[in-house]
């Protein structure tokens, strides 16, 4: 069987496109909705933290009180409640999506899990730290995962991860020890993760 160079090139491109499309679709199965869930949770939780710190900061600087315990307790309540919601929502999404494929692509889930465990081990070892350092670190961690995913799957994620990481670091120095830092992290971190979830659901399924 003889074919031309152009025909061979077309066939090769076709195989690469279909393979990439398949990998993306598999990854999009659960990844998109789960990122949307956790991005939204992150946004709301950091927004809650921002409002808590904002009111506390105002109270401190206006000298209307040393600390407003109620505002701090909002932040401490928001996180565990939202994380619980996120765990259940993620479980629901992953079980609802599972019939699509016989065997899930476990690599993405494992990548995130390993990254989470690795970072937590180092956080314990590197303590003490302040909450702003932790905020910047936590926000930049998913961006590191984006950069890795971007190398495998989609260059958009690679660039997004790099740009947002730089912005988070810039915000860390610009808004250090200011409540605005939490709003910065809410928008950049939560907004980016939730937005990427929508992006993956739309683009990777095409």
């Amino acid at each position: 069987m003889e074919i031309s160079k152009e025909h061979a090139q077309d066939s090769l491109s076709q195989t690469e496109n279909v393979a990439m499309q398949t990998r993306r679709r598999i990854a999009a199965g659960c990844t998109g909705p789960i990122l949307t869930i956790w991005g939204t949770i992150w946004f709301v939780a950091y927004l809650g933290t921002y409002l808590s710190y904002f009111f506390e900061w105002q109270a401190y600087h206006l000298q209307i009180g040393s600390r407003i315990g109620a505002t701090i307790s909002i932040a401490s309540l928001v996180w565990p409640v939202l994380i619980t919601v996120g765990v259940f929502a993620s479980w629901f999404v992953s079980t609802r999506k599972s019939p699509i494929l016989y065997i899930h692509n476990k690599r993405f889930g494992l990548t995130w899990l390993i990254l989470f465990l690795y970072s937590n081990v180092w956080l314990v070892l590197l303590a003490p730290w302040n909450e702003y350092q932790i905020g910047a670190f936590a926000a930049s961690l998913p961006m590191f995962a984006y950069i890795v995913m971007g190398l495998w799957m989609d260059r958009f994620l690679l660039w997004l991860g790099m740009v947002v990481t730089v912005l988070i670091i810039a915000g860390f120095f610009l808004f250090h020890f200011q409540p605005l830092f939490w709003l910065w992290v809410a928008v950049l971190g939560g907004g980016t993760v939730a937005g990427t979830g929508f992006y993956i659901q739309i683009r990777w399924r095409c």
């Binding site: 069987m1 074919i3 076709q14 690469e16 393979a19 398949t22 019939p99 699509i100 016989y102």
Partner: protein
């Protein structure tokens, strides 16, 4: 001189194998899912799968999941080898080493 595998070279079968090769060894893909990815009809996909199955390039596993009949497909080692050879020949043609 290596020959292009004419079974694989057919456009739909080429897409089927490209899609299956993208999975890890041992992973299986649902028939409905494959039909959506390739945008073909049930009958068309079924006919091409039969051809590939007869050559031992793929395995078709009909089973029940939650009491519903499901068909899963995966590439065999023979199919992966045949696909690798096919890609090698394509690259040789592109580089002008083969016709």
């Amino acid at each position: 001189m290596a020959e292009l595998d004419s079974t694989i070279h057919q456009p739909v079968r080429l897409q089927i194998l490209s899609s299956l090769i993208a999975l890890n060894a041992g992973e299986k893909v649902d028939f409905t899912y494959l039909r959506k990815v390739l945008n073909v009809t049930d009958g068309n996909l079924g006919a091409h799968l039969t051809k590939l199955e007869n050559l031992g390039y793929i395995e078709v596993d009909k089973t029940f999941v939650a009491r519903k009949p499901r068909t899963f497909i995966n590439a065999t080692d023979k199919g992966r080898d045949a696909f690798d050879k096919y890609i090698t020949v394509l690259k040789q043609i592109i580089e002008g080493e083969n016709r």
